[in-house]
Amino acid sequence: MRDRTLLRVEGLELHYQTRQGAVHAVDGVSFDLHRQEALVVLGESGCGKSSLAKALMRLLPRNVHHTAGRVTLDGVDVTALPDERFRREVQWSRLALVMQASMNALNPVVRVGEQVAEPLRVLRGWPRGKALARAAEVFELVGVSTDFLARYPFELSGGMRQRAVLAMALVAEPALVILDEPTSALDVLTQASIMNALKRVKRELGTSFILITHDVATSSELGDRVALMYAGQLVEVADAERFFTEPAHPYSRMLMASVPRLRQRARPEAIPGEPPSLAAPPGGCRYAERCPYRFARCAQDPPAFRLGERHRARCWLHADDAPAGGGA
């Protein structure tokens, strides 16, 4: 039997060079992902979640000045692959990315079907007819009528274009698809139907997903697992069930309490303060400044404490000798 683990990320770092100095966008991120599992990377803007996606896809902007860590996909250390092999063997065929607002990145003068079929023709050398036939199948799966294959992007609504981009990512049947805010520019009803399409794809193709989002409610629509990111680090990684009912990290709890809910009368509570700058992150726990539970030890960087089989939280409250009262 194959190993259950599809992706293992260990100590991933990505620092940018800017005029203000080095920005630690991804700063020591580790997690693993099982086959057919969906992991949500949840975080507020500027926490480094999109940089994490770029680092995994090796789509790095030019001002990157430091990368470190190891990414193992299907037992193969892809960080060790030279760029050319990574591009040919991993990118798109085994690991695809749907970027934020990518529905606006479709080529306006090429029919949508051709664009969706392109990965098969380029990566696998399939003839046009065969690739288009496969594109039509994927179109149906994501809920676009095959009539749209011969249309141009401007003839499609935003929701339809987003589905077309999703089809493009899925057409070569990658094992893992990274979705960076796939629905944040769309309307409520369109959002819900795209999440429905993703759930169907997950069930029918067995694709694994990493869903990157700032929206807590959206994250619960797909995630089997949740990784909460704050200031370049994962502060908690847990099963969705656990995360949404009994989160362990103070930031997780406060974030959950700040979400306005449709079906609850409880008033949401804002989190005071602002996230730290990634150019000069504070020493010690990065959340300490906003944390009501902080104590002397928070001046040191907390390790990721293991709280359960696949549950970790980066908070001193979970140290064995922590003061009572604050722990989960």
Binding site: E44, A192, K199, V216, T218, S220, E241, Q264
Partner: protein, 335 residues
């Protein structure tokens, strides 16, 4: 069970009211051939009492932002009128129109786009005062500081010389709110004030708006696409679809007992954080919001409606019914 002339507050003289309001944008080909009109606001009626906080909710393209701009006097209605404190906006000209602009504050969606990048906070807040003739520099400074304190950018000195890019998104939005309030308006229109902000900051801004609204007794019209953010920040909700108000009611009644099929669909599509969401599909009505250039005949929602009744919904416009106390819904199901 009859249709009523206006949505809402009848017992008190309204501060602002819309009657039979239509704002259409004419489309022309080669600059002169009329080829149709985009019916962005297409027959909207409501009346807001002084001191009332309401939310207009709808998806993009439902006409909610055009409605906001029509209320601000930036678009001239194609038909119908907006009355503010008993006077029709159409009658206002010159000085009276300028005075109206001081009575209405506007908070835009994208705070960064709403603030001029080369002006510091002091200058941004001084601008409306200068335009409206506050000549005394000390008086301006006093009002600028008071406005900053009111939006909790405190101490004011720390922010006066900052430029917009030096502020976080939440702080920028506070400056926008301070600017909207500095002329002491009686009505505040906030168009998606938090949709560009992070989850943890949203609640702060909404709380701030609600607090100021109560303290000052302002009328607040809050425009949003997100029904989950309205419960604690408005008293009444108007749900818009394709240029019309399809349902209106007090907040709790609307969220707990939605009557119109569109509102029901909208509520069903919104998730609250819950791990069980991942294993069930949401019910979403088929199709997309209609084109405002060629909206469907009669009820605008009928092509997508699960309760569609042929020969009625596609033939005759549904009037406003009152299926519950203080609750209006434009749907033939209530007949």
């Amino acid at each position: 069970m009859t249709s009523s002339p206006a949505h809402g507050a009848d017992d008190q003289a309204p501060l602002i009211a819309a009657r039979d309001l239509h704002t259409w944008f004419e489309l022309r080909q080669w600059g002169f051939l009329r080829v149709g009109a985009v019916r962005a606001v297409d027959g909207v009626e409501f009346a807001l009492a002084p001191g009332e906080a309401v939310a207009f909710v709808g998806e993009s393209g439902c006409g909610k932002s055009t409605l906001a701009r029509t209320l601000l006097g930036l678009h001239r209605p194609t038909r119908g009128e907006v009355r503010f404190a008993g006077r029709s906006l159409g009658e206002l000209q010159g000085r009276a129109l300028k005075a109206y602009r001081a009575e209405v504050g506007y908070v835009q969606q994208d705070p960064y786009g709403a603030l001029p990048p080369f002006l510091d906070v002091r200058r941004i807040l001084a601008e409306p005062l200068i335009v409206h003739g506050v000549r005394d520099r000390a008086e301006r400074e006093r009002r600028i500081r008071a406005a900053l304190e009111e939006v909790r950018l405190s101490p004011a000195e720390a922010f006066l010389n900052q430029f917009p890019h030096m502020l976080s998104g939440g702080q920028q939005q506070r400056v926008v709110i301070a600017r909207a309030l500095i002329l002491a308006p009686r009505l505040l229109i906030a168009d998606e004030p938090v949709s560009m902000l992070d989850a943890s900051v949203r609640v702060e801004i909404l709380e701030l708006l609600r607090h100021i609204q109560r303290e000052r007794g302002l009328t607040l019209a809050f425009i949003t696409h997100d029904l989950s953010t309205v419960r604690h920040y408005a008293e009444r909700i108007f749900v818009m679809y394709a240029g019309r108000v399809v349902e209106s009611a007090p907040v709790d009644d609307l969220l707990d007992h939605p009557q119109h099929p569109y509102t029901q669909a909208l509520l069903a599509a919104i998730a609250d954080p819950d791990a069980a969401n991942a294993t069930r599909l949401r019910e979403v009505p088929a199709g997309e919001p209609p084109s405002l250039l060629h909206p469907p005949a009669a009820c605008r929602f009928h092509p997508r409606c699960p309760h569609f009744m042929a020969g009625l919904c596609d033939v005759e416009d549904p009037p406003d019914f009152s299926p519950r106390r203080d609750h209006r819904s434009a749907c033939w199901l209530h007949r």
